[in-house]
Symmetry: C2
Subunit: 385 residues, 2 copies
Amino acid sequence: MAARYVAAGAVVGMGLGGAATFFYLRQQQQRPAARPADVGGFGAAAAHPALKHGMPVGDRLRLFTDFAASFDTRLRNPRWVLEHINRGKLSSREGSRQNSEFVEDSGIERRFRSKLDDYRGSGYDRGHMAPASNHKTTQSTMDETFSLTNMSPQVGAGFNRDYWARFERFVQDLTKRCDDVWIVTGPLYLPQRSPQPQKNGAPGYRMQHEMIGSPPQLMAVPTHYYKVVLGEYGGGRRAAVGAFVMPNSPIDPETPLASFAVPLGALEEVAGLKFFPGYLSDSRREAIDETALAVQRLGYAQLRRLKPGSQPLLLPAPEGAAPVPVPIAAADGSVAVPPTDQRRALGAVHVCEHAECKLPAERFWESNGGNGGGKRALRRTQSAP
Amino acid sequence: MAARYVAAGAVVGMGLGGAATFFYLRQQQQRPAARPADVGGFGAAAAHPALKHGMPVGDRLRLFTDFAASFDTRLRNPRWVLEHINRGKLSSREGSRQNSEFVEDSGIERRFRSKLDDYRGSGYDRGHMAPASNHKTTQSTMDETFSLTNMSPQVGAGFNRDYWARFERFVQDLTKRCDDVWIVTGPLYLPQRSPQPQKNGAPGYRMQHEMIGSPPQLMAVPTHYYKVVLGEYGGGRRAAVGAFVMPNSPIDPETPLASFAVPLGALEEVAGLKFFPGYLSDSRREAIDETALAVQRLGYAQLRRLKPGSQPLLLPAPEGAAPVPVPIAAADGSVAVPPTDQRRALGAVHVCEHAECKLPAERFWESNGGNGGGKRALRRTQSAP
């Protein structure tokens, strides 16, 4: 089945550098007078004097049958993985993870891709970004999720096999209240406060994370993971959006999901990415972020009630973040933020308003008869050998 | 002149995500039968179920009149800057740095670009990647090099204002022996050996570098910088190539340039980039890297003769790197690697064979009457206020 996967997965693979060149080329065609004559070599793109021998080629865009990914060739991790799910897809059971194998992505040169050897004995799980269970329409679509381009080194016990798995199920369950759900998942490398201030007196920050594998082709171990979720409802006329960030470490199973809700704007700024650019205008993002801060505050309050004195891990805070203006009524384990008519009209509802912001029970797969053997399968296939 | 720059520099700015979408769209047009029908929203690209609301938008490609750059929206640094120089361009003196001002790049949204405030009082220089003195054909082309998209936080004394400035002059001087020279310059974030081994017993590595500015829009301080140089000679029928990596720290002015020569393959693997893809085939890269290792070894030998016991900063070594097979005859301060006929025929000559691998004297600008006030200007415009 590895061969089957490779055939399907390698259909479309390209360097963004190439795409950029191509796009530039087309722009040149549209305004031919603005540049000197073609000097040969790469067609119209070579008209720019700097481009004769090509632009540097970095990250790779990989389009699989049921999801898309951008692969970071420097840190040898996905930068983002984008997928779509709905009730129909999830009800299919043709694919089974017992039949899938982890495979390196032959669509990326060996020296830039992530390798089975990098994970071997590293102590980290090969953690799916697009979960296998979201893509079981056919065995082939499930196999594609086992490409290492879809993997990142995750802490297994207490995270990938526990809290993160429950979070993935929470996202799946959004299909019960949404017609279609789009999900972006990826790693983060969040700076830490440094004991030393900056020279200008501002607080100091330091990037620090482990690298595994063999130099010079090392693979980064992310400090955190994010998911951004967009769920359409009401026949596609409305959408709920939410962003979550979790540390790559064991998470106390009682921690409320709401405490991991983050403002989308701050996530975008640390990830260097704009999510769902076709949907998220600035005004929608701002409206959702207002609710996200309320959801997060509620999560912290719940957490401190459960574990007095506990301090959740925070994103570096947006400077001058406005105090949360929405009064919050907390239902036990769920979030009730009063949505305003303006926000509904704007299409800027938070997923934690539209659905209950509540994870499934711990080890939910053990009580899920229909998904028999799920937990065993999870352990067998997600942990590094 | 800020307005003039903005007009010129903002002509072409785009997200690679957008370019990728466009490229995918074109592929779709070429094979319309392979995908389900267009579901609206973004034209043919939306035919992939994951892409309805767009792909995440990250790094930006910026095409200036005389150079191109890819900007890393996560670390708020250029990823690479690509430029072309020749004798004709360098002989022009129309542009003067006294008339240029550092400006933020209005072609990138404020929350993703690097900002004047990030540098202010940081203790780091706003270090040009494409040097201003390479682009003085007009005042406008020089002004464009003062875009913060072309800047990275460099240590000033002992590096940007000294060894690095001499290195930039060395690259300029290649135009004396080459018809046309292409240069890629950019920052690196090199992992350090960690005191703790990996769980599988292999040596451990850790990424660690400072971040400056204000969260969540922090800017990284690179640990190193690279330049990859391609010089065409013999009427464009032949080319010499070389790659150099230097630490972002004061460098002893006596350190031989040759000790910073690195194998291009190893640099590409830590940078996550392939350079000059239109020229560098695998066989050419391998042939140049063989010479690069010889050049580097000679540099180390010279360094140890100058400073007994000294240890230069090394790139993580390629595993199982072949021992250098070329016998080396060292001229004092220059490199003489016997070139083979095969490598000349392949077009895989190292720049340190084609030209003397020797930096200009310290403070060369003080004795350079024609470039009067160069040093003062350098200090005034490159150091952070």
